[in-house]
Symmetry: C2
Subunit: 449 residues, 2 copies
Amino acid sequence: MAKHELEDIFNPRSIAVVGASEKRGMSGRQFFEGLIEYGYQGDVYPVNPNHSEILGRKAYADITDIPGTVDYVISSIPAPYVLDLVECCSQKGVKAIHFFTARFSETGRPEAAQLERELLKTTRQKGIRIIGPNCMGMYHPSKGISFSDALPKESGSAGLISQSGQIAEELSRYAALRGVYFNKAVSYGNALDFNECDFLDYFAQDPDISIILMYIEGIKDGDKFFKKLQRAARVKPVVIMKGGRGKSGSRAVASHTASMAGSLEIIEGLIRQAGAVSTSSLEELIDIAACFYHLPPITGFRVGVGGGGGGASVLSADQCEEAGLDVIPLPDEIKNKLREKGSSIWDWIGNPVDMSIRDRADFMPGHVLELMAVDPHFDLLIAIIDKPILAVLPDKAMGADNYDHWSWKTLCEMRTLLLKQGIPFFPTIKRAAVAAYKAAEYCALKDRK
Amino acid sequence: MAKHELEDIFNPRSIAVVGASEKRGMSGRQFFEGLIEYGYQGDVYPVNPNHSEILGRKAYADITDIPGTVDYVISSIPAPYVLDLVECCSQKGVKAIHFFTARFSETGRPEAAQLERELLKTTRQKGIRIIGPNCMGMYHPSKGISFSDALPKESGSAGLISQSGQIAEELSRYAALRGVYFNKAVSYGNALDFNECDFLDYFAQDPDISIILMYIEGIKDGDKFFKKLQRAARVKPVVIMKGGRGKSGSRAVASHTASMAGSLEIIEGLIRQAGAVSTSSLEELIDIAACFYHLPPITGFRVGVGGGGGGASVLSADQCEEAGLDVIPLPDEIKNKLREKGSSIWDWIGNPVDMSIRDRADFMPGHVLELMAVDPHFDLLIAIIDKPILAVLPDKAMGADNYDHWSWKTLCEMRTLLLKQGIPFFPTIKRAAVAAYKAAEYCALKDRK
């Protein structure tokens, strides 16, 4: 297979940060420091005519002054200077520029949109590729590339394609807390050159990536996107959150990444039709990612549930069913086994298993879960071990008085323990159920194709 | 107005715990200890023929041995002994019995259902009222009555009517963490005598209760419930979560509280028709409660949103709109004021306010929120002060490594600070939006009546 054109861009041998700075809170410092902090192994060059040295490294007045080759440039200078920068980059033989630089078409102003069009035309003429503008660019932790010091240094097997930099950062951080780590992520803003199709295509064929998450505000070419998505979803799960879903969201999308939000119905239909998974909140996106990342494929919808007392059992049943899962009655085989073992509650206990129904001290409802785990009627369990299991650990909002409460520490320790065993956890049954259903649906659709 | 028949029952002058025990983990200890720990001011009598003393208090072999009067009895003895207990209670002049005692009709066994019918018949003959059976009974913190040591000692102005004891406990604890405290709560299980209508009627006329929350699994009499609910909802908000919503949940309801779940569509229609608020998860129930508890009435649906960068603005807009709120464009009046004040982004900034769009250091997007707060176009804000405000403080699941992270402590401190100012907080925009919409809808419906 031919090397994907983004492969070299995600693995640059040298990077120049134009507009690098020592000033705290400035993007020019953030990008430059990120490369140093995260241990980028190639050459890093700060470019700023007003400094001879930045954070202890020699600074260059112009990109053409840099002695070595420069593969990749991060532009953190204001919009009016970008055409000059492209000219210098062309002289230097730069392959790609990430424009953090913003205030182009997203401002809604004609002159800014005109400058953006010129930027594209000029870079095309010079053979330079663009990520952005108006974005955070690449995160590739195994190569020491990070756009924020808040991102995990640990690499994983997920890939993230996000039009928004803020959402890329949020997702990377919060996914890590659920045990999901990214191999590569990209924030691509206005998608002037490389767009969602290119990144999807690249991640689909990247053997280091096992699941692709996307946050998209607009789609440049629906037909092309559908084909790329269909091909990707056949190989690995693709979970997509579409931003700009309604009238006001579409307005916000225009002033954020200058995207045309498009019809939500058409885009969601396209996602489902292509065999990908659609979601409408970041929490759900992470929940579904946690399922795919940690669990073997969920090959059906029949769920066994065990966890709480009577009230929790009722709500578990409701919420699993409302999510689309099939909460089957406790199979006769299991009831008979319970009777044979001398249980006095064999006829009363059901699925969900009400843990408050006590039997003999040597035979508790937990045993029913063990029987469910080996019974062929169930495709997944929301509780203990062996089938794909989703653990529900309540994560209720705490007040200040509670932050150092022992129970919080215990909860955190249990989460870590679960993740070590490859069991994803969820704060509520509802979120576990919705995520499990969507993961099972992906498998079902894939098998039909 | 005549005193409600439940008034004396919720304010007993003396309580006997039958089946009291010193054994940890037993309900007989839990109920007895609860009364002592929470500072119940009346007389408390442990009853157990096998002990002369329990937790330092003289124990009685039989309820008839108690020297003083006994208003209220908590029964923590097995089902086969309940008829004998009723006979003794009758001799003693007991007014009401809370039967924690379970294993009646909820087991699905004919002989257990028969015993339950006899229990009702006998108590009716003797003029003794029943809470339960198969429930946790009363929580009335200002009187020192609590069924669990996990419940807050602090009293508030909410009332909770929950068929499930576990859910009553969960709601009481987690509502407190959102600054919502209960004046009275009751778990009433199989609703053999007092049922949802009685408690609703009582709480509706109770001046100490400003909002009523309900978790119900079945409704005994639809017409009566509708009338009581309509009357209550005219006086104060009633927020209802119905358990047993689908096929499997209805099965679980039968084995939990022996209730007929009924048609979800009919019940939800009835709730809306009566002007009450319906919800389908405990999280949402608490979210809506937090709105009503902390905020003035939300008198319309037009929301101003400010909070994050561009991506968050897009999602905020979508989620508010999907919840039913009206995310109106930024009014011209505000845009003109921004221009007058010399803002360079007056034409670009919108609602939601993208906080990542920077202007002069002396004029930030936060100023737009201040303008929104006084602009008559907006009915509520999801962010700062003056209109009903809902604060969104992310509450992402943390791993063990993070439990003592400084940011967690800061988050908890901010929550406490917000609550002190009467601003409810929510973990996501979505949850804030859904809760705000339902609170506004309650007001709108109420005004129409």
